[in-house]
Amino acid sequence: MRVLRELIRRPSALFGLIVVVLVLLAAIFAPWIAHFSPDDQLADGLSLEGAPLPPGGGHLFGTDTLGRDLFARVLFGARTSLIIGLVANGVAVAIGLLVGLLAGYLRGAAGNLLMRFTDLMMAFPALLLAIALAALLKPSLWIVAMVIALVNWVQVARIVYTETRGLVERDFIVAERSLGAGNGRIILLHILPHLMPTAIVWGTLGIATTVLLEATLSFLGIGVQPPQPSWGNIIFESQSYFQDAPWLVFIPGAIILATALSFNLIGDALRDILDPTQRGRL
C-alpha cells in the first residue's frame, strides 16, 4: 500500500502505471472493447485493389493487408505480447539470475562448471537454437515464450555473475556466515535483493526486444502461429508497407515503446522506493 502511494506520488511512475494498467485492461477486456474480431478478414476491409485502409472511418487504427481491423488486432495482440514481454522475458531474467547467482556464489567446481556452461550457451547463436526447437516442438505461445527465455538468459547470467562475485566479498555476507546462516538464506535474503536493480534494468529494457524477437521467430515458423496477432508480428508482417501503410508499423511500434517505457518508469521508481538505503537520502 505504501509502495503504491509512493508510486502515485511520482509523476513519471504514475504515467507508467496508467499506461500499464490501460494495456492490461485492453488485454483482458479485448473482446468487449473491439468491434471486430481480430481474425476477421472483412469483406470491406481492403480497397478494391487490395490495399489496406488507413485509420479513420469505421476503423480506428485502419486495417491490415488482409483487411482485418488493426485496432482489434492490437488489442488482442496485447495478450500475446504481454505474455512474451513479461513472462518470457521475466523467466529469462529469472534463469539468468539463478545461474549467475549460483555460479558467482558457489565457488569451486560447481560454480566453475556453471560458468563454463554459460560460456557455451553464450557462444551458441540464439537464432539457431530457436529454429531447432521450432522443428522439435509444436509451436504455441508458451513454447515461444520458453524459447525466448532459453535464448535470453545468458547475458543476464553474465552480468549477475560479476555482481555476485562482488557481493560475496562484502563484509555483511561474511557476517551472515559467522552467524551460521545457511547458503540458501544468504542467497535469498542477502544477495538477491541487491541484484534487483540489475534485474529491473534487464527486465524492462528486455520487454521491447523480446516482443520484437517473437516476431522474428514467428517469421521462422516458431512464433505464435497466424492468425493469432502479436504486436511484434503485426509490425513484422507489414514492415515493408511502412511507406504505403505507415499505420501498420508505427501504431504497434509506438505501443511497444510506450509499454516498455512505462514498465521501465515503474521499475525505476520501485527500485528507489524499495531500496531502503535511498530513503531519507538525497
Binding site: D119, M122, A123, L127, A132, Q155, F236, L257, L261
Partner: protein, 306 residues
Amino acid sequence: MAFFLARRLVQAVLILLGVAAITFLLLYFLPADPAVLIAGRSATPQMVAAIRHELGLDQPLVMQFLRYVGNLLHGDLGRSYTQKTEVLPLILARLPATLVLMAAGIVVEVALGLTFGIIAAVRRGGFIDRSVMMLSFVGVSSPQFVVALLLLYVFAATLGWFPMSGFGTARHVVLPALTLGVLGAGWYARMVRSAMIEVLRQDYVRTAHAKGLSGRRVVLGHALPNALLPIIAMVGIDIGQFMSGVVVVEAVYGWPGIGQLAWQAIQQVDVPIIMGVTLVSALAIVLGNLLADFVAPFVDPRIRSQ
C-alpha cells in the same frame, strides 16, 4: 599471462567442440532432408537414396559427427547443399565485409553510447538525462528493417549523400553502421550511465576536482577510464552478435556479410553452411571475450598484476 592465455585457449577449443556437437545434434532433428532437396522433383526414391549415400547421410549420427569433426580438424567445413561448393571459401569471402561492418557498427554504438551515457550520468535526473533514457528506449524498440529503410530513403535516395547499396568505399559503410549504431547505442548508453554514476561518486573523482581540473577533464580523464570495464565486456559480447546476427541491415544495404549467408542457409536448411556459420560466430564470440579479457588489463592496471 601466457599461462592464462593458454588456459583460455584450451577452454575456447572445448567450447567450440561443445557448440559443434550441440549444433550437429539439433540440426540432425530438422525434418528437412537434404537428399530430397538435392535430388529435385523429378527424382525417384532410388536417386534420393543414392544421393543420401553420397553425402554419408545414411550413416549413424555418431559416425557423421566424428567425420565432421575429423574434417574440421583439417580445416574442412564441408560442402554446401544448395550452393554446391566448399563452405569455407563462402564464409571467408564474406568475412571482410562482416568485419568492416562489425568494427564500424561497434564504433558508432560505443561512441553514441558513451557520449549519451556520460552526459546522462553527469546531468543525472535532469531533462537531458530523461531524454537520453527515453531515446535509448526508442532505440531498442525500433524495428531494424524500418530504421534501415528510413535512413536509406533520406540520406541515400533523397539527399544522395551516400550510395544506396554495396560495399567497398568508406561512404558505403556509413549508413549500415549508423543504423546498427543507433539501434544498439541504447543498451550502451544505459550501461555507461549506471557505471558512470557509480564511478562519479568515488573518492578519486573528488581528488581530481580538488586538483583544480576542469569538469570535462575529470569526467573524461578520471571517471571514464574506470567505467570502461563493463563496456569492454559488452563489446566482447557484441562481436559475436555481429558475426551472425545483422541480417536485416545487411539485406537492406546490400552488404555482403555473413548474416545474409546465414539467413539464406537457414531458410534453405543448408546444414553445412549453418554449421560453418555457427562455428565461425562461436569462434568470434569466444575470441571477442578473449579480446575483452586481453584488453581489460590495459584499461585497468589492477587486473594486470593478478
